[in-house]
Amino acid sequence: MVDTPLPLEVRNLKKRFGDNEVLKGLSLQAHQGDVITLIGASGSGKSTFLRCMNLLEQPNEGELIVHGETIRFKETRQGREPADWQQVVNMRAKLSMVFQNFNLWAHMTLLENVIEAPVHVLKKPRKEAVEHGRALLDRVGLLDRADYYPAQMSGGQQQRGAIARALAMDPEVMLFDEPTSALDPELVGDVLKVMRDLAKEGRTMIVVTHEMAFAKDVSSQVMYLHEGMVEEAGPPAEVLGNPRSERLKQFLAPKH
């Protein structure tokens, strides 16, 4: 037994859209400081799996344990739903998400975006949130953009801003949903650099990505998903360096 609870544990998670089972019993254990990358072709269920972790999608079966606390569900006519939405709200505040399309709130400046949830969800004093927010913007190299609106910034800047917004929650785990997929190639590097720094300082991260170099260099564990199941998982040197399944070999082969 370990003394401190795991930041995040998922057990046997299943998700159906109608008759189509897209996640067929997935499990994951994130230890403090782990960087777990989820890879796989589109349609493999990796994004859905990530979105189930903070219940943006409702899993039909399975357990979700955040920092030792099991999320409670109840059965309703529409299917399974969280039994206690307050618990979900508290849980989400511990897992902050970075989206493919950034999703910074368009009607707020960058700094307002960063302090929004700390002030209104965590009830942090505004002054403290602003100080912390400015420090985080400085960290991602955007302090001079604090008063800009998202539409005034490049995609790369917006995504780094979104990472600052995620950090402002002091999250247990950060969830990244294809954070560089919507970016122009020349902007990807800046975002990946910020993420590498986060990994280095021991942040627990779960990253859905197509960036194999990032997966190889940064992650502690790689999970290759295929049709809602884990086909291979393990340290990156093993999974990416020496793939066993034919499918993963194909997936990793250079595309022409």
Partner: protein, 238 residues
């Protein structure tokens, strides 16, 4: 100056009634509109049906007919209820439908249906990623409404809202029919008594125009406020 033949103060009082009536009706209409829009977008089958029934009936019947129906029919309905209470329980109450309240309720009820459609469209125009981000950061539905849905919906709703308000303002002229002394009724009475319709109706037209112009200005300000972050970059960059 035009000689208002002593009707000036009454005309001014009538103008105040018009403004009060219009503003209070607007508040009722906005509240009803938001509630109905939420009902129509809700997952509940019953709420959805009720919302649809309300907007269908109101939008399909002329304003004037609705006003007469609610004013006269409303009084009869209330009388039936109070009579029944008296017969059954010996409770003796008499409620008289106040013209002003009837006007506010009727106009609010009519425009609530139009506002509902405006708000529904506006809520649906908000990018779903914005809502999802709110959810992912632990916002409750209530907090999300206040901080994200409402401010982002407003820029889509304002053009329709402003249009509805202009029509609402002019619809208040109909309340003279149910006996409320707004400025149109004062002007009509004065015209009849003096045989000088232009003397009274032209000032009335000017007052309506004046209110409309002030509203246009206010709506333009609001539009600018809710457009922050969405417009062209150079609009807000100094």
């Amino acid at each position: 100056m035009i000689d208002l033949q002593g009707y000036g103060p009454r005309l001014l009082e009538g103008a105040l009634v018009t403004i009060e009536l219009a503003l209070l009706s607007l508040v009722v209409a906005i509240i009803l509109g938001l509630l109905t829009a939420s009902a129509k977008m809700s997952r509940s089958w019953l709420l959805h049906k009720i919302g649809t029934l309300y907007t269908t009936i109101i939008r399909g019947v002329p304003d004037l007919v609705l006003m007469l129906l609610l004013f006269f029919g409303g009084q009869i309905g209330i009388n039936m209820i109070t009579d029944w209470l008296y017969d059954r329980f010996g409770i003796d109450i008499f409620i008289n439908v106040n013209e002003f309240a009837a006007g506010v309720i009727t106009i609010g009820l009519i425009f609530g249906a139009y506002m509902a459609e405006t708000f529904r469209g506006a809520f649906m125009a908000v990018d779903s990623g914005q809502i999802e981000a709110g959810r992912a950061y632990g916002m409750s539905e209530r907090l999300m409404f206040r901080r994200i849905r409402f401010p982002q919906m407003m820029r889509h709703a304002l053009p329709g809202l402003s249009n509805n308000w202009m029509v609402l303002l002019k619809t208040t002229a109909l309340v003279s029919i149910i006996g409320l002394t707004d400025m149109v009724r004062v002007a009509a009475e004065a015209s009849k008594a003096t045989h000088e319709p232009f003397t009274f109706l032209i000032p009335v037209a000017v007052i309506y125009l004046l209110i409309a112009s002030v509203s246009e200005w206010i709506f333009a300000r609001l539009q600018k406020h809710y457009n922050v972050g969405f417009g062209e970059a150079d609009e807000w960059n100094n």
